[in-house]
């Protein structure tokens, strides 16, 4: 439970939303007095993938599993990197070029941990969290990461997540 008005909000928070993400609200979830470093990462919809001109993206999630996997990844990353707080909001549905698909905020006492931790969390999210994007471009559409999409970032092909 987020302790609204109590001594510090829940240090981990995860959400999947359909409406535009309010990054300031994500930031507010991780700020705390003991942390001198806060990093906020925005993953936004790019206008181009390789030579393709993107019209829009469609995101889809297996929501309960995605939230559980985010929490598991965050636990591991916070432990490894010494983060004191991590919040992640991912949007699904149709997103236009320039919109935020994901906002991740982390906080730690010093910056090195926050910078490394946000990268570690996103790297694992892209392999272990069941969220998909379909790119709709001029002349076609493709699920990013599938074998017929050489442009996408490839996922771990088989087996359980590490």
């Amino acid at each position: 439970m987020a302790g609204v008005g109590s001594t510090g909000a829940d240090p981990r928070s995860f959400e999947i939303v359909r409406a535009p993400i309010r990054a300031d609200a994500v930031l507010a979830r991780v700020r705390r007095p003991g942390c001198g470093a806060v990093v906020v990462f925005h993953g936004t919809v790019r206008a181009r993938t390789g030579t393709r001109r993107v019209r829009y993206l469609e995101y889809e999630a297996y929501e309960p599993m995605a939230l559980a996997q985010m929490a598991a990844v965050a636990d591991a990353v916070c432990r490894t990197h010494g983060l004191e707080a991590l919040a992640c909001v991912h949007r699904v549905g149709r997103l236009e070029v320039g919109e935020d698909a994901m906002v991740v905020a982390v906080a730690s006492p010093h910056r090195a941990a926050a910078l490394a931790g946000v990268e570690a969390f996103i790297g694992r999210l892209k392999r272990e969290v069941p969220i998909w994007k379909k790119e709709v471009f001029e002349g076609g559409a493709a699920w990013i990461g599938t074998p017929d999409d050489p442009q996408g970032e490839r996922s771990t092909p088989t087996g359980a997540a590490p």
Binding site: I122, P130, S155, A160
Partner: protein
């Protein structure tokens, strides 16, 4: 003579490219007792030829956790077909 065990029900969920390949978001199936996750994939590939291009790289989650192909299914399991993910 012992009668064969009754088939066990499982819930299958399809996402992203697997959803489009199968042409549905999910279905309830009665499958043989002792079927593995990999065995179910083979069975589903037979039912839905449109899944073929999606099979390489596909992972299986049972009750919202990734499992290896040799994991045995149990009655009432929710089995999700997870194509390569691409969040963020």
């Amino acid at each position: 003579m012992t009668p064969p065990p009754p088939p066990m029900p499982v819930e299958v969920r399809y996402f992203a490219a697997a959803r489009e390949g199968a042409g549905l978001t999910g279905e309830r199936l009665d499958v043989p007792v002792g079927l593995t996750a990999g065995g179910l994939l083979a069975l589903l590939a037979g039912r839905h030829p449109g899944l073929a291009p999606v099979l390489p790289g596909l992972r299986v989650a049972v009750n919202e956790r990734f499992v290896p192909a040799e994991a045995a299914l149990a009655a009432g399991d929710t089995v999700a077909l997870i194509p390569p993910v691409s969040g963020g």
